[in-house]
Symmetry: C2
Subunit: 282 residues, 2 copies
Amino acid sequence: MTIAIAHLGPTGTNAETAALAYASWLTKKKGQETLLSPYPSIAQTLRSVVHKKVDLAVVPVENSTEGSVAITLDTLWELDRLQIQQELVLPISHALLSHSKSLSQIKTVYSHPQALAQCQKWLEGFLPSVQLIPTNSTTEAVQQISQDPQAGAIAAPRASKLYDVPILAADINDYPDNCTRFWVMGLTPSTSGNRTSIAFSVPANVPGALVKPLQVFAQRGINLSRIESRPTKRSLGEYLFFLDLEASATETSTQEALAELSPYTEVLKIFGSYDVLPISTL
Amino acid sequence: MTIAIAHLGPTGTNAETAALAYASWLTKKKGQETLLSPYPSIAQTLRSVVHKKVDLAVVPVENSTEGSVAITLDTLWELDRLQIQQELVLPISHALLSHSKSLSQIKTVYSHPQALAQCQKWLEGFLPSVQLIPTNSTTEAVQQISQDPQAGAIAAPRASKLYDVPILAADINDYPDNCTRFWVMGLTPSTSGNRTSIAFSVPANVPGALVKPLQVFAQRGINLSRIESRPTKRSLGEYLFFLDLEASATETSTQEALAELSPYTEVLKIFGSYDVLPISTL
C-alpha cells in the first residue's frame, strides 16, 4: 500500500524537503512506498488527513529563530482528532537566489515572511534599502523573480536547481543553528515515543491558574521542553497552552500527571507520544 | 514642546489609528501638541525612540485572534532600554475594499498576513478560490489594487475614505471581539500604573524551571494576565518568557516578588508599570 503524504507546496519548499526526507526514511526503514501531495496552505494540508484524502501530513511547528507556527497550533486545536506520529528536525539554510551578478543591482527581495524574518539582520546589513515583498511560500518567491535581474528571492538552496536561478549569496540566515521542527500528523493513535504533546485551556484567569498544571509535571521530575500560549480567540486575555513533555504517555508517572492535570483544565487535548528524528541536510 | 510619535506607516494602518487616538488623548488631557511619524517597519519604529529621532513609539503587541506580535517582543528584548508608558486597546474591524461591484468578480485579495489570518474563515466561506497575496501593511494592499476591479484589499474602513476605494463587505473579521493591544514606548522610566510587564530567560532547561518564577507571583496572589514564550534564537528549545502582571511595581508585594524572582532567572528585564486606555472606534 502506498502512503500518501501531504505538505505545503509547491515543489521546492522546506516543508517538501521535510516530507521527502520522511518518505525516504519510511522507504529505507520499512520498505514503504510513498506519494507526496502538495497543498496550498498549512490548514488545508492538515485537513486533508481528517478528510482521508491522504494518510499523513508533514507540517512545520516551530522554528528556532522565529518561534511557533501559529496556524499549525490553531488548526490542530480545532481539528481535534490528529495525532503526532513523528517529529522531524530540519536544519534550515536560506540563500539569496537571483539572476543578478551583484548585490548592488538588487532592488527588491521576495520571500515568505518567516524566511524574511530569519534573514532580517543580513538584509539590513547587506541590502538596507531594498523593498521586501512577502509571498505565500519561498517557492512562490523564486517563481516571482523570473527573469528580473533587479530582484532576488530568499529560498532553500534546493530551489536554485529546481527553478534554474543562481545562488547569489548562501547561508544568509541570521543564526547559524536555524532549525525547524516538523510534525508528521495522522489519525493512528500515538502511544509510544519519548515526547508527549498536549494542549489545554484553563477554567478562569485567576492567580496561579497556570502554576497548578505546571506543578503537576515538576513534582514528578517531568521536564517541559516547551510551553506556548495561543489566544482562545474569544476575547483578549484568554489563552490555550501547548506543552511538550520530555516523557512518554506509556510511563505511569506521565499517566498520573495527566490524570491529576485534568481538573485544573477546561478542555485538555493529548496529541500523543512520538520520537524525534533529526534530518541531516539533503 | 511638540511630542513626536512614531508608528508603522504609511497612513491608513491600524497602528496609525492607535497613534492618532493616543495623540488626541494627549492633547485633550494634557494640552500637548503632537506630531506623527510613520516608519516602514515595527523594528525601525522602536529604534527611532532609542536613537532619539522621536519621543514615543506606538507598536502592536498582541491581537485577540492572532496572538503576539513576535517582532515587537523580540525588538523590545534586544533594545533593552524602552519602557511602556501606556497600553491602548483598539477594536479592529476589517473590511474588504474593492472597485468591483460584487464578490463573484474578485480573483485576488491583498492584505497584511495578520489581517488575512484574522479573516481566514470569512475568506474560505465567501471567496474560497481567490488568490491571497500578502503585503507589508493593510495600506499597501489598498495601494496595490488601484483600479483593478478583479482585486480586493482587506483594510480598516478608514482606508476606504483615505484612498477612495469603496467598501464591498464590512466587518469581515472571523471573531467579533477582534482587538489589538498597542504599547506606547518611551525612554522615561515607568513606575506607576496597574499593569507591569517583564521578560526573562531561565538558566537551564530543567524540570520546573518555569514553575519557580510563576510560584513567586501565585504565592502573593498576583495574577498573570499573559505568559508568552519566544525562542532565544541560540538553539531550538531555549526560550525567553514575557509576563504581564496585574500589579504595580510601586506595590511592596510586587517588589518582593521581583526580588525573589531574580535568582531563578538568567537575564531579567522590567519594562515598567502602566495603565490601560481602551479606545472606542474612531
